[in-house]
């Protein structure tokens, strides 16, 4: 590499890189929100007693979990325009891929959280005269949420890292903008190290916070 490190390049390109970071955060935020909502529905359906529904949901979850995320991104990126017959911005096709994909993972976490509440608790709630819904609302969920929130947050940190995969369809997230600058100015060392360190600091601090939360609210 020529001429040693040139970290001024980061400052010169700060607005461009920041734009990438904003897209990364937007994508993560929307995908987490959508994934949680859909994941909750899937978890409830999977625990329900409606005929065939739990098996269908299990099939969906296992199917998505055995597919690489990159392949899912390609699926939606090429197929949504074909299905709808109109061009969809790559941001939305990728967002849909992330929501459907992450919902499979979130639903498993939520299901595990709900199932971790002991049967006796529900029996006790019902014996006290609570309705099914009330038992869920006042007895099961408060306990389930405490066990699953740290895991959901950890999964969301993983998801933040996974958004970098939008690189494969050229969406300008944080990593892709850094890649563009690295290619244009032939400065891969500075740019990729910067990306790696930024993620390391953000994700490490976030996971530390999650750990503290876990210890504080553990049952």
């Amino acid at each position: 590499m020529e001429g040693g490190f040139d970290f001024a390049i980061l400052i010169r390109n700060a607005p461009f890189l920041w734009g990438g970071m904003v897209l990364t955060l937007q994508l993560t935020g929307l995908a987490v929100a959508g994934g949680l909502a859909l994941g909750l529905v899937l978890a409830v359906l999977r625990l329900s007693r409606i005929p065939f529904v739990p098996a269908l949901v299990a099939g969906y979850v296992n199917f998505l979990r055995s597919m690489p995320l990159i392949l899912a991104i390609f699926w939606f990126y090429t197929l949504i325009p074909k299905l709808t017959g109109q061009s969809v911005s790559s941001f939305y096709s990728v967002l849909i891929a992330f929501i459907l994909f992450e919902a499979a993972y979130y639903s498993e976490i939520i299901r595990a959280g709900i199932s971790s509440v002991r049967r006796g608790q529900i029996a006790a709630a019902l014996a006290l005269g609570l309705s099914n819904a009330q038992a869920m609302r006042y007895v099961v969920l408060p306990q389930a949420i405490r066990t699953m929130i740290p895991v959901l947050l950890t999964q969301s940190i993983v998801m933040l890292q996974d958004t970098s995969l939008v690189y494969v369809v050229g969406l300008r997230d944080f990593l892709t903008t850094a890649d563009i600058v690295a290619g244009r100015d032939s400065r891969p060392v500075e740019l990729y190290m910067f990306v790696a360190l930024t993620f390391l600091v953000v994700c490490f601090s976030a996971s530390r916070l999650v750990n503290r939360l876990r210890r504080r609210y553990a049952l």
Partner: protein, 241 residues
């Protein structure tokens, strides 16, 4: 979807059939080779994190935190674009010019080291799930700490964590698709290439998806057998405590 022109036979035509076969082969090979790095290295790191030696514990923790908190794709770029620049000049030149299969070997190394951090966490949690009493009983019987690991703790820990190790192996199998970002023609990139050449997007992606699902299913079924055979009689509770 009404106007979509199905073209399944295209997948059996030359050269597309060969692309899928070689892509699938590369995907499996990357996953297996990366696992060969990840399993022993991850086990060593996981064990290091449970020892009494502070520097070892610290090194193990640092390894896991670094590899877990950087996106895998960024790691791939670091190994491929950055590390050769930072190596001593002779090595760097060798890596850039003379190393055979540079993209393939780089992705194996990257995936192996990343997966090691996941294996390490599983091994550590397996070791920690064993009641301390077993460790003390081993020492009281006159075993050295190393022998306690070898004959008491590890045989139990590995049997407890078989399901988690299975999902880590499936993880590296799926993550091998990231090798396409540095130009390895594995299954996903071959599917993508077929889509670009023939516009048979649905057929190409469906085939790739089916192959991924098939391997996942086979591995899960096989590991269930292994789990059944290695189950420790009467101790299911250890894993769930």
């Amino acid at each position: 979807m009404g106007s979509y022109r199905w073209n399944w036979p295209i997948l059996l035509a030359d050269p597309y059939y060969g692309w899928i076969v070689s892509g699938f082969g590369n995907t499996c090979l990357i996953a297996v080779l990366a696992w060969i790095i990840a399993f022993p290295l991850g086990s060593a790191i996981g064990i290091a994190r449970t020892t009494e030696l502070r520097p070892l514990r610290f090194a193990g923790t640092a390894y896991v935190e670094v590899f877990r908190n950087i996106p895998l794709l960024a790691q791939m770029f670091l190994w491929y674009f950055v590390v050769p620049e930072l190596l001593p000049q002779d090595w760097g030149r060798w890596v850039k010019r003379d190393m055979p299969y540079p993209q393939f070997l780089t992705s194996v190394l990257c995936l192996g080291l990343y997966t090691a951090s996941r294996v390490a966490e599983q091994v550590r949690s397996g070791l920690e799930a064993i009641p301390r009493g077993q460790h003390h009983a081993g020492l009281a019987m006159g075993l050295t700490p190393a022998q306690v690991y070898r004959y008491v703790r590890l045989p139990v820990a590995f049997r407890i964590i078989i399901p988690s190790l299975t999902s880590d192996f499936l993880g590296v199998f799926k993550n091998s698709s990231l090798a396409l970002t540095i130009g390895v023609l594995e299954l996903t990139s071959q599917a993508r290439q077929i889509e670009e050449y023939t516009f048979a997007a649905f057929e190409a992606f469906a085939t790739a998806t089916l192959l991924y699902c098939a391997v996942t299913g086979i591995v899960i079924l096989a590991m269930r057998q292994v789990e059944r055979r290695t189950r420790i009689p009467g101790t299911i509770a250890i894993g769930t405590q």
